[in-house]
Every structure is written in structure tokens, then in C-alpha cells.
């Protein structure tokens, strides 16, 4: 502004130059399609020239006549709105541009008045005060307009396309190793949240047509040095809007103490909600908020990132704290899948978070989320380990009735069949514990020659878990007094494991070699069962003297009786046993039938002379039929059934 002062002419002759320049400026100002910047420069120049003129005019005390006139004109334009209760921006574009022009003019006048030397000129001082008051009035008004505008338009921005989280609210993995139950595990914890990834959905938090209005207010307020007021108002409304969105996501605000005390069922729901909210808040709301800030404040430098951080911080802290509470809680095995969800969600978002908070001020946020990610990774590992420990240490005091598929097998197999969905993450997190486990599982799949899918860390861990399960099942089998039932139990459970592996995405991780080996294992138990149960029975029918053609009647009778008693004993016992898989049951019956019925038929066939009702309690057909009652899990006794057959 020094140039302006020095430019004040001393000679009357210069006055003409000034007048001429003024004239030219005014003429240029009427030109259409000038750029905004240029027009502003011309207006400023115009103001300066007129001030110079008036200053020269006012030699002697009075003066500033034109300035005062202009001030009076804009004063009217600004003050008139003070009594009006309608918002300017609701009134129409003409009103808006008039008002903005008036504010511009006030600012120009202030700049010019300030630019002149302040020779204790009372008039100049008074005019400056008046102009500043006017500016304050206008700024106050603009702030109000801004808030009104932001509030009025924020409600319309509810994104409607997002699936509501309520669809997955019921998806709760409510079981735990402690309360082993049944098959419900599989459908209960399907990874519902993965399918409906929300991706990057930037929405208009404020309708697009309002942005230029907000921007025009920002421009004027920043130009008049009222940027702070603009920011506080902007932050205030946007922050509250974000918090409202956050509330809609129904994140119960909980203390860490509450989270640690929470029942698993509700905790699981909250963990799901967190996963969901993280995605929505970061991908949708914060991304959109960032864009809004960029649009409105992009040209004002660091103010932009400052405002964004202020808007986002409290909501972010809330999400962060729940994550921390989960990461510090006890890592029970049932938490594993939810923890994996949380970990994967955050791992997915962490780059976005880095980008959103790339400025210095945001380093706090970046750092905290990276820390949380590490914490969640540790939690996943811890939960995985407790799961493994739980599998091998789950103890029973009593044998599982009927020798069927133990709930532990069901739980473990159903649970791990969910792991392939998380294989990338699990491979990453289990990497460092890989070598320990790989040496534990001394199977060829873990060797260097194995295929990638069977040698990855997760595959080795999975097989180590199933081998823990196997040894636990062996322990459990020892609870049966009957050796045959031990084999039935192991056969059932091993068969179940193989079926689960074959019929799920687990297969590539276990490999054909594993399946072959375990097929052989359960078949071995099948054979052992037959041997233990039937060998002695069949032995009763064995021909003592292979040379002679037939037995004496009494010997025949004796053998028949012995067979009947033995058979009835087996029947009584094994009808209560259980083979849940129909195919397996069928196979075992056939091979039993082959062995027993065949031996019986041969025995009877060799002694046609003695075959009559009196000594043969069961016909071959009876035996064949009765064998079908075995392994149905409903105890029967032949005393009753036989009487019924007879009558």
C-alpha cells in the first residue's frame, strides 16, 4: 500500500492524470466477460483512484465525500437484512450476489482506508470504524447463513443404497467350546459381512448445488480474515452430522469396562457392528467428508486438513476405543472369526486411513490405527492358540453314549471349515509360528515337495489342529470299556473328519494324501471292530474236524446255542450303538453280513440233517434281518423281539 501513498499527487496537473486513469478503469470495468480476478483488481483500482481524488479534494479537513457515499450505499444493503427474517440464500440469486457484492465493497473500502496514511484524520478514522462494524455485521450474518445452509441440507444426504446392518445382526456365533452343541455352527457364522462389501461410496453429504454457495461464503469470509469463524461453524455442523450418522449405525457407546464384561452373544453382535461401522464411516462418510472439505476449503491450505481432522476425531476415537477394548480382552476361541473380521476390515482400511490423515496433524490417528492393527493381529494369534489348546485339552469324564460323532469333532470341523475364507490373513499372521507347527505335523505335505496349498502356514496349522483333535478323540475312546465300541467311536469321528474335509473348501489345504491316510485310518477301525466283535462269534461255528462231513446232533445243538447267545448279546449291545452316517452304516452292515451270515449259512448247510426249529433259534434270514437293527442308536433285546416273532 506504500505505492498508493506515494502515488498521491501533489500537483493539480497530476489530478488530470488521475482523473483520466479513473475514467479508463471505469470504462474497462463495464466490459463483459472479464475474469473474476481481473474484475476485482479493477474494482480495487477504482476504489483507490477515487480515494486519491477525494483525498486531494479534502485538503483542509472535510472530504472523503465519495467514500462516505459509497459506505452509506453498502450500509443500506447490508443493514436491511438485519431486520429481515428470511435467509439471504433462500431469497434468490440476485439478493445473494447483491449481498456478496456489498460485502466485497466494504472490504475494498476498508483496505483502501487502511492503505492511506492515518494523519489523525478524524473523518478517515470514523469511516474505517463504520466500515469495520459493517463488515462484522455482514460476517456474523454470513456465518449464520452458512450454518443455516449446512443444517438445512445435511439431512437429505442419507445414502439409501446401503444394505442395513440389521440383516446381519442375527448372525451371531453363539457357541463356544465349552457349550458344545451341534451342526448349527456352520450356518450361524457364515461370513455374511464379506459379501456385501460397501466399497468406496462417496456420497454428497451436502447436495452438489449447495457447494458453490458454501464456497462463496468461505471465499468472502477468508478474504475478510474471518476464516476462523468460518471453520468453527463449519466444523461444528459437520462434526455433529457425522456423529449422527455414527449413532444411526447403532454403535452403543460403551466403556472398556462394559466391553470386557459383556456376554459373548452381545459382544459378537457389537464386533459385527464395529466391522460394519468401520467400513461405512471410513469408506462412505469420511471419504465423502474429505471430498466436501476439499471442495469447500481446498484453496485455503492447511485449514482444510485441520477442519477435516476436527470433524472426524471424536467419532474416530470412539471406533478406536472399541477396537482397543476388544484387542485387550481375553481371547477365547469363539472370538477367532469375529477377530479375523475386525482385523481384515482394518487391514483393508489402513491405507485409506493413511491417505485421509496424511497431514502432520493426523499422524496421531494414523499411528493409533496401526497400533490397533497390530493389537488385533496379536489377538487373532492368541485366539487361534487358545482354540488349538481347547481342542487338545477338552476333557470328558464319561464316554460319549453310542459311540457316535462327538460334539467336539463337529465343533472343530465346522469351525475350521470357515477358515479358508480367511486364508490370506491367516497365512500372514501364522507365518512366524509356522516352523514350530510344521515340525509338529510330520506329514509329507509340509515338506518342500508339497503343493503350495498344502504347505502354506494355514494348512500346517489346520492339520496340526486336526491331529490334536485325533489324539483327543483317542483319549476319549479309552473311556469306553468295550473295545469294539472304541473302534466304532473312532471310526465314526475319523470318517466325519474326512467327510468334512472332502466336502468343503478345506480339501486343498489337507490334500489327497491326508484324505487317503485318514480313509485308511477309519477303515482300519472298521476292520478292528469286526475282528473284535465277530471273530469270536464266527469262531463258534467253525468246523472242529474239517475232515468229517457233519457234526453230531449234540455238538450241533451246542454250537447253535452258543452262537445264539453270542449273537443276542451283540444284538442287545450294539443296537444302542450309533453310526450316524447312513452310507458308513450300510457298508459296515454289508461287510458284517458277508462275514457272519455267510459263516452261519455255511454252518447250517453243512449240517442239513439237524436243521429243525427246535435247535435253530435264528434262521439265516432272521440273522440277516436282525443285523439291520444294529447301530441305529435304539437299544433292543432279542427276548422280546423273538417272542413276537414266534407268536
Amino acid at each position: 500500500m506504500d505505492e498508493c501513498q506515494s502515488a498521491i499527487p501533489a500537483h493539480d496537473g497530476d489530478l488530470h492524470v488521475v482523473a483520466a486513469a479513473h475514467h479508463i478503469v471505469k470504462a474497462l470495468g463495464t466490459t463483459k466477460n472479464l475474469s473474476d480476478d481481473l474484475r476485482k483488481i479493477l474494482i480495487d483500482l477504482d476504489a483507490h483512484l477515487s480515494l486519491i481524488t477525494s483525498n486531494i479534494d479534502s485538503k483542509g479537513g472535510k472530504g472523503f465525500v465519495e467514500v462516505e457515499e459509497r459506505l452509506k450505499r453498502v450500509e443500506r444493503k447490508i443493514v436491511i437484512w438485519e431486520s429481515d427474517r428470511i435467509m439471504i440464500w433462500d431469497s434468490g440469486p440476485k439478493e445473494v450476489s447483491d449481498y456478496l457484492e456489498a460485502v466485497d465493497e466494504v472490504q475494498t473500502l476498508i483496505d483502501s482506508l487502511r492503505g492511506l496514511s492515518m494523519n489523525e484524520n478524524q473523518k478517515q478514522k470514523e469511516l474505517l470504524h463504520r466500515a469495520s462494524s459493517l463488515l462484522q455485521m455482514a460476517m456474523s450474518r454470513l456465518e449464520e447463513e452458512l450454518i443455516h445452509m449446512l443444517v438445512k441440507h445435511k439431512q437429505q444426504s442419507e445414502p439409501t443404497y446401503m444394505p442395513s446392518p440389521s440383516s446381519q445382526r442375527n448372525v451371531v456365533y453363539s457357541e463356544s467350546v465349552v457349550s458344545l452343541d451341534n451342526e448349527s455352527a456352520k450356518e450361524a457364522s457364515s461370513k455374511s459381512s464379506r459379501s456385501d462389501e460397501c466399497g468406496e461410496y462417496i456420497v454428497d453429504l451436502v447436495p452438489e448445488h449447495v457447494i458453490p454457495d458454501i464456497k462463496s461464503i468461505a471465499k468472502v469470509m477468508f478474504a475478510s480474515d474471518y476464516g476462523q469463524e468460518f471453520c468453527e461453524a463449519f466444523i461444528g455442523v459437520r462434526k455433529e452430522a457425522l456423529e449422527q450418522h455414527f449413532d444411526i449405525l447403532e454403535n452403543g457407546k460403551m466403556s472398556i469396562e462394559d466391553v470386557l464384561k459383556m456376554e459373548w452373544c452381545s459382544l459378537s453382535t457389537e464386533m459385527n457392528k464395529w466391522t460394519w461401522s468401520m467400513k461405512i464411516i471410513f469408506r462412505v462418510y469420511l471419504m465423502s467428508e474429505k471430498r466436501l472439505c476439499d471442495q469447500v476449503l481446498g484453496e485455503f491450505g492447511s485449514v482444510n486438513s485441520f477442519c477435516f481432522l476436527e470433524i472426524a476425531k471424536t467419532t474416530i476415537l470412539c471406533l478406536l476405543n472399541f477396537g482397543e477394548a476388544i484387542a485387550m480382552g481375553p481371547q477365547e476361541p469363539e472370538k477367532l472369526l469375529r477377530l479375523l473380521d475386525m482385523y481384515e476390515t482394518l487391514a483393508d482400511l489402513v491405507l485409506d486411513i493413511d491417505a485421509l490423515f496424511s497431514e502432520d496433524g493426523g499422524s496421531f490417528v494414523r499411528l493409533e490405527f496401526h497400533k490397533l492393527l497390530e493389537g488385533l493381529a496379536d489377538s487373532v494369534k492368541a485366539a487361534f492358540n487358545t482354540f488349538r489348546v481347547a481342542v487338545s485339552s477338552n476333557g470328558s469324564l464319561y464316554p460319549f453314549p453310542g459311540g457316535g460323532v462327538h460334539p467336539l469333532s463337529k465343533y472343530v470341523m465346522n469351525y475350521i471349515s470357515m477358515f479358508p475364507d480367511y486364508s490370506t490373513t491367516l497365512n500372514l499372521l501364522l507365518e512366524d509360528q509356522h516352523s514350530d507347527v510344521a515340525s509338529l505335523v510330520s506329514e509329507p505335505q509340509c515338506g518342500p515337495t508339497a503343493s503350495l496349498s498344502t504347505s502354506c502356514p494355514m494348512a500346517c496349522h489346520l492339520r496340526s489342529i486336526t491331529s490334536s483333535l485325533e489324539s483327543n478323540l483317542h483319549k476319549k475312546s479309552k473311556l469306553y470299556k468295550d473295545e469294539a465300541l472304541q473302534h466304532i467311536f473312532l471310526m465314526n469321528n475319523l470318517h466325519y473328519m474326512v467327510q468334512k474335509v472332502k466336502g468343503s473348501e478345506l480339501r486343498p489345504f489337507f490334500g489327497d494324501e491326508w484324505i487317503r491316510k485318514h480313509n485308511a485310518k477309519f477303515q482300519q477301525h472298521e476292520m478292528n471292530y469286526e475282528r473284535v466283535t465277530w471273530s469270536s462269534v464266527v469262531l463258534l461255528l467253525k468246523d472242529d474236524n474239517p475232515g468229517s462231513s457233519s457234526l453230531s446232533k449234540s455238538a450241533f445243538k451246542e454250537k447253535c446255542k452258543g452262537f445264539s447267545i453270542a449273537f443276542e448279546e451283540v444284538y442287545k449291545n450294539q443296537t444302542s450303538w450309533c453310526i450316524p452316517d447312513p452310507q458308513l452304516r450300510e457298508d459296515l452292515r454289508i461287510s458284517t453280513s458277508l462275514k457272519v451270515v455267510h459263516a452261519y449259512r455255511t454252518f447250517l448247510g453243512r449240517n442239513p440233517a439237524h436243521v429243525d426249529d427246535k435247535c435253530i433259534k435264528h434262521t439265516v434270514e432272521d440273522v440277516e434281518k436282525l443285523l439291520l437293527d444294529l447301530f441305529e442308536g435304539s437299544p433292543r433285546s432279542l427276548r422280546n423281539s423273538r417272542r413276537m416273532m414266534k407268536t
Partner: protein, 392 residues
Amino acid sequence: MPATDYQASFLGRISIRRNQVIAMDGNHEQELQDLELFSKHVSERFAELLSSPDDIPCHALLSISWLRKLLDFFLCCEAEFKGVLMMGNDPSQISKPPLDRLIPEFLDRSVKALDVCNAVTNGLESVRHYQKLAEIVVSALEQKPIGDGQSRRAKKALTSLMSAMNVDDKECSAAKATERSWSFSRRGVSSKDRVPEHFRSVSNQVAKNWSAAKQIQAMTNNLVPPRGAEGSGLASPVYTMSVIMVFVMWALVAAIPCQERNGLSAIHFPAPKQLNWAQSIIGLHEKIGEEWKKKEKKGTAGLLDEMQKMEKLGNILMDFTDSFQFHGDITDQKAEEAAARSVELAETCRRMEEGLLPLQIQIREVFHRIVKTRTELLNALDQVGKSSPPLL
């Protein structure tokens, strides 16, 4: 206050301790020495905090830099405490009486402290908002000459500042929600200075019915000095650390806007005066408690020195702007006075600008440290539990 000073002294202390740990052979005498050293350090540190000169603003009691020092000391004590408790000692000790009862109680307190940390972190967001409003006041008043426009601008920001501080104090609960509703219409507003628009305050970060005062009260549950033979064993550092933790949390809540603080001054923790290390803490507790009682009646957003200064300067400047509007102009003397106050306010804002974020980060550090120690103690308990014969 350069934070590195504390950092250096902290590391120094740790390395001294390391040497001691290496040197000691785990006998009881060494343990006693360790305990003595621990309580000696505690008493030294808190004596330093107590003797902080009130007249130097950047060291005043409950100023930002004082709080940072407090947290630094907390971290030091915590590290030493963990050393005493877990290094070199027979780990099975923590599962034997009386520690089998004291450690779980300590962990319970830790969790409560974490929630306090979160509430305070959130409260600092409000303080930051005050700072921004005060900065507007400063911007308005540093203009020369101060005219009606500047005075109005300052007054508007001051009004927002004062009511924001008041709202936060009147508890960040339901009552506030209606007050800060944005959807004011222009109809109700007739005065020339409209309702201050930028009401912004603590949103409930923690659970709805959560109360900082109750939380701290609960932390003092079962907090009794060890008696008799217990007094010479590990029960005593657990007690000491608990008192430190309760005190630090209590001081933070007193200083910084926080959810529900009714009854804060009524909390007293039983730290017997005859315990050497406790004297300074008791002294500080009494001093801050007095302050709180004085302010409790008037209502304040918190005892943070910078905030109190802000409030005081705010009141003076408010008077100034009022008289400005009443008289239309102001004497030079008054203008100078206002300018001087505004310079002070600017200085306060500067201290906040420099200190608030580091303070927030430090509270986060305390948070993470408490979590870490808790995890380590739980793991240690777990290990001990595993090595003992199973109950079945």
C-alpha cells in the same frame, strides 16, 4: 519444558535399575532395597510436582506442562513398579496371598483408569475448541485501532467461549442437546448479537451413564494400605502404584472437562501420612481439592491452569467489549489494558497450541502402557496357573 529432559532422566533411572537387577541375587534383602528405592523415587517425583512454582505460568499447578510432567512421572513409576513386581522375583509370588487378591483388584483399577483416559482424551477436544474461540478473540483485538466492529467480533467469540465452558461444566448430558441444536430459526432471535452459534462440546464418548467421579470413586474400592507383615512385601508397591494411578486419574479429571464430575472433591483415598512417599501426593490432593471446592460452586469446565486463565481474561475482555458497546468508544488507557490482556490470552492460546496435542498423545501413551502391563500381568498369572497342578 522440554520433554526430552524427562525422557533422559527416565532412561537413566531405568538403566540404573537394570544394573541393580543384574547385580541382585534374588534374596529378600535385595527385594527390600528395591522396594525402598521405588518408594523413594515416588516420593521424590511427587515432591517435585508439589513444589512446582505457581507464579511461573508454564510450571503452575495443573498447567498443561505440569500435567505432562505428572504423566511422565506416572510412566516412570509404572516402569519401576513393573520391574519390582515382575523382574527377578519368583513369578509364583503373584498368585499367592495376599497378591492373589491384590493383583486382580489392581487390574480392575487399571481397566477403570483406561476409561478415564478415554474420557479425558475426549475432554481435550473441548479444550481445543475453547482455544480456537479464544484465538478469534485475539485476532479481533489485535487489530489497530479497535473499533466497534472488532469489539463486536471479540464479544461474539467471547460469548461462545464462556458459554461453551459453562455447557461443558453443566455436564455433557441430555440438557445440552436442546441447547446446542443448530436448527435455530431467525425468528426467535431479535437482539443485535445473535445467539452464539458455535456451541460445540463433549459428546458422550463413554457410555451414557458413565461418570468420571463414580469411576474414580470405584477405583478407591478396597484400596487400603497393607498392614503388618504385608507391608514389607510386594503388597506395598501394588498399593503405592494404585494410589498413584488413582491420583493421576483424579487430577486429570479435575483439570480437563469430563463426563459427570459431581462429587469429585468428596473422593479421598486413604493414604496414611506416615508413609513417606504419600506425603506429597496427599499435599497435592489437598491443594487441588481446595481449588476444586472453590470452583465447584461457580462452575468451571476444569481446573486446567490455561483454562482458568482463559476464563479470567475472558471475563475482563468481556467487560471491555461491553463498555465499548455502551459508550461507543473507549479511553486509551482502557484500550491499552485490553490490548495487554489480549496479548496474555494470545500467550495462553500459544501454550495450548503447543501443549494440547502432545498431552493428548501422552495420555494415549499412558493408556497403552496400562494395557501392556495388564496384559503382562494376566499372562504371568496364566503361566503360574498352568504350572500348578490342574484341579481336575
